[in-house]
Symmetry: C2
Subunit: 338 residues, 2 copies
């Protein structure tokens, strides 16, 4: 495949390279017939602009970075996929950059990505969306960036989130509506700010119903399946066990469900189990787990849209760069009347 350049196209179309450039970038000020002629030659020659030449001469790289703590999780996969598809629609490419905050050299890696890749923008996934030191790196370098589900506001950052608190409150209210009064909570890890918001929602719903929270039935997990197993055992292997358990993500809910199974507790007849995320693990169970549908892929796609938007790139964070996406309560087999 001999490389076709903009000059080849220009020569064949009988115009200057600049005109070809205008056409392929969809700029104005080109006569329609010339535009068409150029487009025809582009198609004939199967011309593709060299992304590096373009990036070197312009200030844009057409590259977005996805910075993520644990690229292997199911959560990461959904986020990445949403971002990937939208990038493709927008003719951007996505580079995934793992960030391990517990490694001493993490800043070097991030700086290297920013400097050598000249990223046009960055998407920062939880929980590192709350790492001020990380955000500062992007701010210092003037790299537009959007945070996924951050805890607070950051002046120069875009943000896409869902109503974690409201969703957890709905779930809790739903369980209360089923007649449950003694509800256990498996919290998420402190490192994830969503954990606190979900717990707040739980407590709000309990308070609204006038039900006292059994603090002995509030246990902290780390969002892993294993921690769900362990907390589930602590919660269920006792005489005054709760009639329902709300785990702050699906992996932990699955752990609780499986613990119930081991202990011979029938779900949902003797125990209701609820999760959060609508991840694959909520469906790969029996009964399937009642959960909150979190719009992960949509959030990532929205982040891409914000980054690609010229107005965000120019003047940073306006209201249209602060989005809240809708969630949904998904009732399945793991919950039932008390």
């Amino acid at each position: 495949m001999s490389t076709v350049t903009i000059k080849d196209v220009a020569a064949r179309a009988g115009v200057s390279p600049k005109t070809v450039s205008r056409v392929i970038n969809g700029e104005d000020h080109v006569r329609p017939e010339i535009r068409e002629a150029v487009q025809r030659v582009v198609a004939e020659l199967n011309y593709r602009p060299n992304a590096f030449a373009r990036s070197l001469s312009s200030s844009r790289s057409y590259l977005l970075g996805l910075f993520i703590d644990d690229p292997v999780s199911g959560y990461a996969a959904d986020v990445q996929h949403g971002a990937l598809l939208r990038c493709r629609e927008r003719s951007y490419h996505l580079v995934v950059e793992p960030v391990e905050l517990n490694r001493p050299d993490w800043k070097d890696h991030v700086r290297a990505s920013i400097a050598s890749l000249r990223l046009d923008g960055a998407i920062i996934a939880p929980p590192i969306c709350d790492a001020a030191e990380l955000i500062d790196l992007f701010r210092e370098s003037d790299v537009p960036h959007v945070l996924i589900a951050p805890s607070g506001e950051s002046p120069d950052s875009g943000a896409v989130r869902m109503d974690d608190r409201g969703a957890a409150r709905e779930m809790t209210a739903y369980l209360i509506g089923l007649g449950h009064r003694h509800i256990g909570l498996v919290q998420g890890p402190l490192s994830h700010s969503a954990s606190a918001r979900r717990e707040e929602g739980f407590r709000a719903a309990m308070a609204e119903a006038g039900i006292a929270v059994d603090e002995d039935a509030v246990l902290r997990g780390d969002f892993s399946f294993r921690s769900g197993l362990e907390r589930g055992e602590a919660l269920l292997d006792r005489t005054d066990r709760p009639s329902a358990v709300f785990a702050c993500n699906d992996d932990m809910a699955l752990g609780v469900l499986i613990t119930a199974m081991k202990l011979g507790i029938a779900v949902p007849q003797s125990l209701s189990v609820a999760g959060f995320d609508d991840s694959a693990s909520s469906r790969a169970a029996w009964p399937q787990i009642t959960t909150i549908r979190q719009p992960k892929a949509e959030m990532a796609a929205a982040a891409v849209d914000i980054l690609v938007d010229p107005s965000f790139r120019k003047k940073s964070a306006g209201p249209q760069s602060r989005l809240m996406l809708p969630h949904a309560l998904v009732v399945r087999g793991s919950t039932g009347a008390a």
Copy 2:
């Protein structure tokens, strides 16, 4: 962050840009004291070469592409992670490109990636590693590429695989060793060449033990959890059900396990269930599923190594670009004596 260029470094170090270039690329023919001086300035100025300028002037992009059918699967996540970490060690970046062979424009997307990104190499995951039309695209463009777990040999392609047939045979022999004689098989989809190899291994082990395969207990799934549920029901909801089921991946094995649960069949007391992959779903079950550990991340990392190796880049496929990585039988709770 004012951009530091090679000229800035050169000026400050009192040498020419070319010398700086030699130092940062680790080339020979630089006096040690000059090398050190340059390195000191690089560190002081926090200089990072502009990847685009480098790529434009050289023929290398330091970019590897991971071409994958379904980037959301757990399999994809493991492969990607393995490739990502190794890329980082080698100072390469990874671009993930979804390829949907059932969309008419898939070739355009691949061509566009190859042409505009000037990929230094491509990793092609299953099942599309067996799509000849796709491989041809890379061959035509002279893009070095490594196939993960392909069915056959391709003259210009590197390949990293595991012994699917041997592993399936081991698993089957293990089940036979437990006393099982009536063993059901849930095959993988025809689109994945690994399915056929695993089935071969199953049949080889049965033949070696002199046991006839019950063809009514050989059903085809599509590697999805759902298909495991369905085939599980077809296999187990009858009087002459097998005493063991070998599903050709873990997602399907989990489906079979859950079906057993629904039907009130005790695992492993009344039924043994075995999977393949050692994916997260094999552990997120109770009992945990006996499976074959597939070195997914290692295979991807090895693919990166092959692509980065100058000898592969120059003269393509030698024997060191054809690897077979070891697997392991992982015995867990889902299998027991017949």
